[in-house]
Amino acid sequence: MATRVSRLFAAFALLLVAACSDTVVSSPPATDRFYYPTGLAIRHVDLTTGLGCVGGSASCQTQLLVASSNFDLRYDPATGGTVIAVDVDKALATPLAPLVAPALLGVARIGSFGGALAIVDEDSCPGWQTTLGKAAQALVASRSQNALYRVNIDAQGSLTCGAGCRVPLEAALGDPYGVAVACGTFPPAAGGTPVAQSLAFVTYLRAPNSEGFLSRIDLAAADNPRTLVDLLTVPTHSAVFDPVSTRLYVTERFAAIGYTPLRWITLAAPGNVAARNIFDVIRGSELRGMALSSDSAPGVPPSRAYLALRIYDVDQATSTGVRPSDDLAGALAVMDLQESPDGQPSTRILNVVPMDRGATEIRVVPRDLDPTTRKPRVDPVLGRPKRDLVAVTCTDDGTVALYDDEIGVVARVFDICDAISSDAGDAGAPPPCDPGDPLVGKQPFGLAVEALANGHARLYVGSFDRSWVNVIEIDPLQPSAAPVAWARIGPERQ
């Protein structure tokens, strides 16, 4: 008994000492693993030219870039985040292993609480590398630093965050999160002459009086000139750019009961902010991620948008005056973006598909791509390309859903490891996969999609809690079928 008391006393004393300490040990972030990953992005890089290429072709490297958030501040609270680039094919050879060369291509240190990750390169911004002569960059906003990080990516995937990498954002706003790249020829202001521009738009999860703002940053200019775009009420969450219509769509978070706006601005015709209140159709909905369909012909705006929705209890919110911390359900809304004669997207809700709780990130998976043009092929029966497969991470319930927009139903859900199978884990997923655990790992969050040359697609799903990234190869034409291959990149968080 005496020994037990002594141990308790010793532990208490240690805690007391720790509590009285006024110094914080600040360690640099780990560079051989993801750590609470958030944003994911995929690049295909021709190692001989440094430009884009078709995945799976000779000398074409698939690079996965992952933003780690340092969510528990285990590392330096200010700059304990990272952006890590890996060679996917090499990393797949050593699943769950610490990331080292040659699989590890580069690491850059950024602020903690990083959010979405966007790439600016020749593919996303024509002329960026060839005309402007600039290096490809990974763009990540840090909530702890209230800054946008512009991490240079060299031809081999090495990352650097040197001078000019950290771009301060609006001091009066908080929690920058979403990043979208918008390149094209737009007038700088209403009535102005269109000029070529390379822009990044950053969303803010928090703003005084729950207002909605974007930062518009001129990426091509030397000093990162920044302007504030006022989107009226409701804080912004994610932004998606359509280069054909030049519309920038912005999802917005909860600010008031009864108002869930999806807003858009048209960069070619600046001045007006248009909005569609999703709450009018889907009671209790709050927006998260958004994706645009890929099935339109070249030069035609996307026909549909896919919106990840969280559904909260309106009655509880009304009685308490705040949004409940938990959700009733999740959903995927399919929105019609067909152009009306007046030039505005229809924005009619075509379908609402139940999802698990915590629907967050969303990506389209193109199907039946022409191997030459890399555009969706026209289905001979339908007379148009097949509609997209849509992947959604449902963070709260730990699942990933594949919605088949051609049929209008969920084709597959990656939910939990088989509760019946043996200790070897689930037959359909790689270990570790203990019975009852989420198949993709707890809290799936970040999402990226890669179209492969063989017609298949890879889903990259980051498990925020387990800190690995699932690489799941599927046949988009057979979404209900078992994955073709599945591995996890990065060691499990301990």
Partner: protein
């Protein structure tokens, strides 16, 4: 011993409890179905409701008599029937022998319990004993193919010579399929249901994805017996058959193996996502019988009701959205949509003071029943099998003076929308993505309403109107007040600008006029064409204007890829015509439209590509000088040459003239439906495309259920006794059910109140006119849970009259919601009586 005692005491306490108020504890209910079988709650066979908890990977069973769950053996919790992960679909079918039904569940992930793999399968629940577990699995991968997914399920009761079937709609590598799994009673005396062997003949290669399956119900015969239905109806987004028809597929199952059933397309003019079938006794349509809305033919007919795919319906499509009525008996017709029951009423022999109503023809098909939000599931409810709520006799009900007629073939049920109780032969409950369950009165072809369409402050009406003020020296626009008020001894038609009088000068029509804001403005900007960014371009000596923006890039100006279209100027729905006014505000320039130019993808006409069309504008000195192929950004407004009518929802609606005489027919302007097919085929009238666009906006919204004039029970000598105009505010209306115009009025002008002697006839003022607002007179009846209620996942009707203590119950509906509750309500009971089961 020490630890066992409290547990024993707890168990004893629970066992002694008089109420099983443990709650149902649903976890994401995705489906529900009623079945007959055994449970641990009662010793004999009984009727229950199975609910699939998709997040809990289990089924719960409800006792519909008390809405309490069947408890687990431990009593402290509701019974859980573990299933394969994510049970999503349920179906049950009677084997027709009075014993337990077959009950099956389908999970999103194949069953790991019995199948070798995780392919599609049916999990058969043990209903024939209180064990209530997944008894066995019927693997379907062998007949449906690897990777197939089950997306629809339906049960078909056994009938003479045909076993009970579970119909399985699936999609796989070979496309859409329908499998029929047959079940029989075990011969070993256990009462078990046994799945029959599946073969290739059990599967029909549909060629389209079956999203929902409805089974033709049994028909009541004159002798009271019933004849089982033999048809299936399948909703699909895909084209059906070789002709590529969109609608519902009908399969005749009376002969042959499932493999040989040929899907016959029922053309609904659009794809469908949900379907139900039922025998409905339509109300009588008789403009000479004021009680006709409450009288029925007495012989129900089979109709199929389907929810249209929202992506293929609307005012810019061949049919509006909602629930369509399909008449399978219309074989050989272009469409199998039921005929429009509303016929035009012939004008009275003597035109009423103020003029006849605008004649509007019947539509080609019965208008879809509108459902706010997007409809997701449909269930039909009829009168209960027995009891006081099954009505045959002529009964007067509180809301009408008209007795209801019915027949033995067509029992009625009571409905209780906010407007009062009534009888009908069938209702449909439609779930919507907005979380509500909307009520449709199938015998009266439309939604029930909680407010009166024809009477009081809620009726369809102009709620406010005003004349836009002008200088006292200018002419002011007003409307002709042609119809004398009831009882007026003398009346002279005149143009009014009085806001108190103006609403009465505008005719609205029940079932056609929607809630909205309207404007009739002289030289008003065409809807959505005010101050839009655009370009001027020149070609062949002409100047063109297009509402589009230069998005640069490497594409040439003669490529469509160079431009982001702001508005499709050549779209007839926008109403741009030659002679309209073009205002280039930034250039201080005004001219007119010389011609409307169709889309020009290469710039051959316009000089630059104009993918949305353009207008050729008349020469003017204020225009910039542009060389061929040159273009210049500008800001464009297009104004009508004269008056233009616009609505905030419908946009452009035409161009009224100005009535100058007291003749009530002089320059009457009406927005009214006309034959869309004829307009689409009209190649002689250059305005036919514009008229077609307007006609589509003037379709019927719903069918009112008020009776024709005179109003039954009206006091002698009162307005209600009139043959025309018996309803206050509708001077030209004799039958609310008849088609009519969306809006009708006559514009006039009032001379300057202080004429300028130097300019006694000034030109009409741009921007002057009349603005008004309307309301539709419909508030769709619905039910929703008292709290929560997100994403209803199904609906079915339930008749409790066979249950002890519920012999006189009305018909009821169960609606599972994914936020862990099931809604239970009756259309015969008023709002507030619904029960939320959690």
């Amino acid at each position: 011993m020490t630890t066992k005692r409290p547990i024993a005491l707890l168990a004893l306490a629970l066992a002694c409890s008089s109420s099983s108020s443990v709650g149902s504890r649903f976890d994401g209910p995705a489906a529900a179905v009623s079945f007959t079988g055994f449970t641990g709650k009662a010793t004999g066979i009984g009727s229950y409701v199975a609910v699939a908890s998709t997040r809990g990977d289990e089924l719960r069973i409800l006792d519909p008599s008390d809405l309490e769950p069947v408890l687990s053996p431990g009593v402290a919790f509701p019974l859980s029937i573990p299933t394969a992960p994510r049970p999503l679909l349920l179906a049950a079918a009677s084997l027709g022998d009075g014993q337990a039904d077959v009950l099956v569940a389908v999970s999103g992930v194949g069953s790991p319990f019995f199948s070798a793999g995780s392919g599609p399968s049916l999990q058969v629940i043990e209903t024939w004993s209180p064990t209530n577990r997944v008894a066995y699995d019927v693997p379907l991968e062998g007949v449906l193919g690897a990777g197939s997914e089950i997306i629809a399920l339906a049960g078909v009761q056994a009938s003479p010579g045909v076993a009970a079937r579970i119909l399985v709609g699936a999609i796989g590598a070979s496309g859409g399929q329908l499998a029929a799994v047959e079940f029989a009673r075990a011969t070993d005396g256990t009462g078990a249901v046994v799945a029959q062997a599946l073969t290739a003949a059990s599967v029909n290669q549909l060629g389209f994805a079956p999203l929902d399956i409805a089974v033709e119900p049994a028909a009541i015969q004159p002798d009271g017996s019933t004849v089982p239905g033999t048809h299936l109806y399948i909703a699909t987004r895909d084209p059906i058959g070789a002709a590529g028809v969109f609608g519902v597929a009908q399969l005749d199952t009376s002969t042959g193996a499932p493999q040989t059933w040929v899907p016959a397309p029922l053309n609904a003019l659009a794809p469908t996502v949900a379907v139900a079938a039922g025998f409905v006794d339509d109300r009588l349509v008789d403009s000479s019988d004021p009680c006709s809305p409450d009288r029925f033919g007495g012989v129900p007919s089979l109709f199929v009701y389907a929810a249209l795919d929202e992506s293929a319906c609307g005012s810019d499509k061949p049919i509006d959205c909602g629930i369509v009525t399909i008449d399978p008996a219309r074989v050989g017709a272009t469409t199998q949509l039921a005929a429009d029951p509303a016929r035009p009423v012939p004008p009275p022999a003597t035109a009423p003071a103020g003029g006849n109503p605008t004649p509007v023809p019947a539509q080609d098909y019965r208008a879809p029943m509108p459902v706010p939000g997007n409809p997701t599931h449909i269930a039909i409810g009829k009168a209960p099998a027995t009891g006081a709520q099954r009505v045959f006799t002529d009964s007067k009900i509180p809301s009408t003076a008209c007795p209801t007629s019915s027949s033995a073939l067509s029992p009625l049920l009571k409905i209780a929308p906010g407007t009062g109780q009534r009888y009908t032969s069938a209702v449909a409950m439609v779930t919507s993505i907005d979380g509500r369950v909307y009520w449709l009165d199938l015998s009266r072809f439309g939604p029930m309403s909680d407010v009166s369409t024809m009477k009081g402050s809620t009726r369809v009406a102009v709620t406010a109107a005003s004349s836009i003020a002008v200088a006292s020296t200018d002419f002011r626009f007003g409307l002709w007040n042609d119809a004398p008020p009831f009882g007026a001894s003398s009346f002279t038609p005149s143009v009014t600008v009085d806001s108190a009088v103006l609403p009465g000068t505008i005719d609205v029509w029940p079932g056609f006029t929607d809630t909205g804001a309207w404007s009739v403005v002289y030289q008003g900007a065409l809807p959505s064409l005010s101050a839009r960014p655009g370009v001027l371009a020149a070609s062949a000596g002409n100047v063109y204007a297009a509402i589009q923006s230069d998005i640069g890039g490497t594409a040439l100006p003669t490529s469509s890829a160079r431009w982001a279209v702001g508005a499709k100027l050549s779209d007839p729905g926008l109403g741009v015509r030659a002679g309209d006014i073009v205002v280039l505000s930034d250039l201080g320039c005004e001219t007119t439209v010389a011609a409307v130019v169709p889309p020009d993808a290469t710039g051959a006409t316009v000089g630059v590509a104009a993918p949305g069309g353009a207008v050729q504008i008349a020469p003017a000195t204020c225009l910039p000088t542009l060389g061929a192929g040159q273009f210049q950004a500008t800001t464009i407004t297009l104004r009508a040459a004269g008056l233009v009518l616009a609505n905030d929802r419908l946009g452009y609606l035409g161009r009224p003239g100005i009535g100058t005489t007291a003749d009530p027919e002089d320059q009457v302007f009406a927005v009214a439906w006309s034959d869309e097919t004829a307009l689409a085929q009209d190649t002689t009238d250059p305005l036919a495309p514009e008229r077609l666009a307007i006609a589509r906006k003037a379709r019927r919204l719903y069918y009112p259920s008020d009776g024709p004039c005179p109003i039954p029970g009206a006091t002698a000598g009162s307005q209600g006794t009139l043959q025309v105009g018996c309803y206050t505010g509708f001077p030209r209306l004799s039958e609310p059910f008849a088609p009519g115009p969306v809006i009708r009025f006559r514009v006039g002008v009032v001379p300057p109140t202080v004429p300028d002697p130097a300019n006694p006839t000034p030109p009409l003022v741009r921007g002057a006119g009349v603005v008004f607002t309307t309301q539709t007179g419909l508030s769709a009846t619905f039910r929703q849970p008292n709290t929560g209620g997100a994403l209803p996942s199904g609906v079915f009707s339930y008749d409790r009259t066979s249950l002890s203590g519920h012999q006189d119950d009305p018909i009821r509906f169960f609606v599972p919601y994914l936020d862990d509750l099931v809604l239970f309500f009756s259309p015969s009971e008023s709002s507030g009586s619904q029960t939320t089961i959690r």
